[in-house]
Homo-oligomer: 238 residues x 2
DNA sequence: TCAACGCATAATGTATGCAATCTAATCCAA
DNA sequence: TTGGATTAGATTGCATACATTATGCGTTGA
C-alpha cells in the first residue's frame, strides 16, 4: 500500500500553534471524514512522511486521539482506527440521549444566558424558514444540520458543566465517523424534530427541568429509532 | 520546592509492560491519592528524575492523563493537576446518575450473565453480613466500599457497552481525587443504599428496565444529596 | 517611581538515533 | 506436507540533543 490517501491536510502546520495540536486536528478530521478505513493501522513513519514532521508530534497526536476514542492503542503494536459497529452507534445514541437529557434539565434549572437564548431562537427561526420552503435540497439539509448543531450546542453550553460538554462531544463524535450509516432522514422526521426543539426550549424557559429532560431524551432516542429503522430497511430490500 | 512528594512508586517500572503505561498508572494513582496539589504543575524534568526515566514516557503519560480529565494541558506551558470544585463533583454525580441509570436499564433489557449475577449476589450477601454486625469500624467501611464497587461494576459490565463503561469510569474517578470531600457517610445512609441495591437487582431480574433505571438514578443522586448535606453542615458549624 | 524593553534562565516542543519488540518468511526436522 | 524454530525486516519504545517558547529579573528611559 503506497499513497492511498489523498493529502489529509499538510496546510495547517504553520498556523502558530504547536505541530502536535494541529496534527491532532488534521488527523481527527481525516478520520471523521472516513479517509482511513476502520481497523486500519496508523503507521507512525508513513504519517510523519506524509505530514512532513518527525514521529514525535505524530505520536502525541495518536495518543490524544486514542484518548478521544477514535483510535485503539496496543502497546508495542501501534494505533488502529477504531471500528464502530452498528450496535456501538446505537449505544452512543443512548448515552447521548441520557446526557442531553441531563443538559436540558440543568439548562432549565440554571436558566439560560441571553447569548444561549439568542442562539436557540435564531436556530428555531432559521430552521423554520428552511422547512417552510418545501422540499429540502441537499444543501438545505446540510444547512439544517448546522442549525441543529447550534441548537444542541447552546443547550450544552447552558448545562454549565465542562465534563458534561466533553462527554457529549465524545458521544456525538463517533456517529459521523462510521461513514456506513449516513442516515437519509425523511423530511417528515426533520419537521418533527424541529417541532421537538420548540417544545424543549419552551420547557426550559418555563424552568420545567423534568419535562425538558424527558422531551430531550425522547428527541435523541428518536434519532436512534430512525437509524434502526433505516438499517432494517436496508436489510430487507423492497 | 524540592522533594515534597514521597516516592510515588518507582517500583512498577520493571513489570513487563512499557514504561509509558506503567508510569501512567503510577501517576494516576498518585494523583487520585492526592499526592499532588490541585493546580500544581507537573514538570516533565522533575518527574523524569523522580521516576528515573527520560522525558519521553513522562510526556506520554501526561497526555494520557489529560485525556482522562485528570490533568489540564496548555500548549507550551505544560500540564497542571486539574482542580475540581465542589460543583464539579456534584456535576460528576449527576452525570454518573444518568449513566448508571442507563447501564441498569440496559442490564435489565439485555439480561445479566451468570458471572455478573454471581458478583452481585455475593455483594448483596457480604454487604448484608457487614451491616448486620452493628456499628461499622473504619475497616468495615472500607470493605463495604469495595463491595459497593463490585455491585456497580457488575452492572456496568452487564450494560455491555465499552463507551458507557469508559464514561462511567471517568465520572467515578474524579470524586475521590478531591481529597477535600471525604464524605463521612452516616451508617443509616449505608443501610439505605444497601437496600437500594436489592431493589435494583430485583428490577433487573424482572427485566423491568424503566424501574431499574429509575431506582439506580435515584440511588446515585442520593449520594449527591448526602454530599451537599455534609457540605452545608460543614459551613454551618453547630 | 514606574513602565517598558531586553536578556538570562528554564521549560516545553521537535528531531533523530538506538534499543526492544513484533511480524513474517524461510528453513529444518518429523 | 506440516509443524515449529529461527532469523531478517519492519515498527514501536525510549533516550538525548537541539529548537522554540515562556518567565522572571534587571536595566534603562522618561
Amino acid at each position: 500500500m503506497t499513497s492511498q490517501h489523498p493529502q489529509i491536510a499538510a496546510g495547517p502546520l504553520t498556523e502558530g500553534i504547536t505541530r502536535s495540536v494541529s496534527i491532532t486536528d488534521s488527523l481527527r478530521c481525516a478520520i471523521l471524514a472516513g479517509e482511513f478505513q476502520p481497523g486500519e493501522r496508523m503507521l507512525e513513519v508513513s504519517l510523519s512522511e506524509r505530514l512532513h514532521v518527525s514521529r514525535t508530534p505524530i505520536r502525541e497526536a495518536l495518543k490524544a486521539l486514542a484518548g478521544e476514542g477514535l483510535l485503539d492503542h496496543i502497546p508495542n503494536r501501534g494505533y488502529y482506527v477504531r471500528e464502530y459497529s452498528v450496535d456501538d452507534i446505537v449505544q452512543a445514541y443512548e448515552i447521548r440521549a441520557a446526557l442531553e437529557g441531563l443538559a436540558a434539565r440543568r439548562a432549565a434549572q440554571l436558566g439560560m444566558s441571553t447569548e444561549d437564548r439568542a442562539v436557540i431562537e435564531a436556530a428555531l427561526r432559521d430552521g423554520e424558514a428552511i422547512l417552510n420552503k418545501g422540499e429540502l435540497s441537499p444543501h438545505d439539509r446540510m444547512l439544517y444540520g448546522e442549525i441543529n448543531s447550534a441548537f444542541h450546542g447552546a443547550i450544552h453550553s447552558a448545562g454549565q458543566s465542562r465534563m458534561l460538554r466533553d462527554m457529549l462531544r465524545q458521544s456525538q463524535q463517533i456517529a459521523p465517523s462510521s461513514h456506513r450509516n449516513v442516515i437519509a432522514f425523511e423530511q417528515l422526521d426533520v419537521r418533527r424534530r424541529h417541532d421537538d426543539h420548540f417544545r424543549i426550549y419552551e420547557a426550559i424557559l418555563c424552568r420545567d427541568g423534568a419535562r425538558a429532560e424527558l422531551l430531550m431524551r425522547d428527541h435523541v432516542e428518536s434519532v436512534k429509532i430512525s437509524l434502526l429503522r433505516s438499517i432494517s430497511r436496508e436489510l430487507l430490500p423492497d
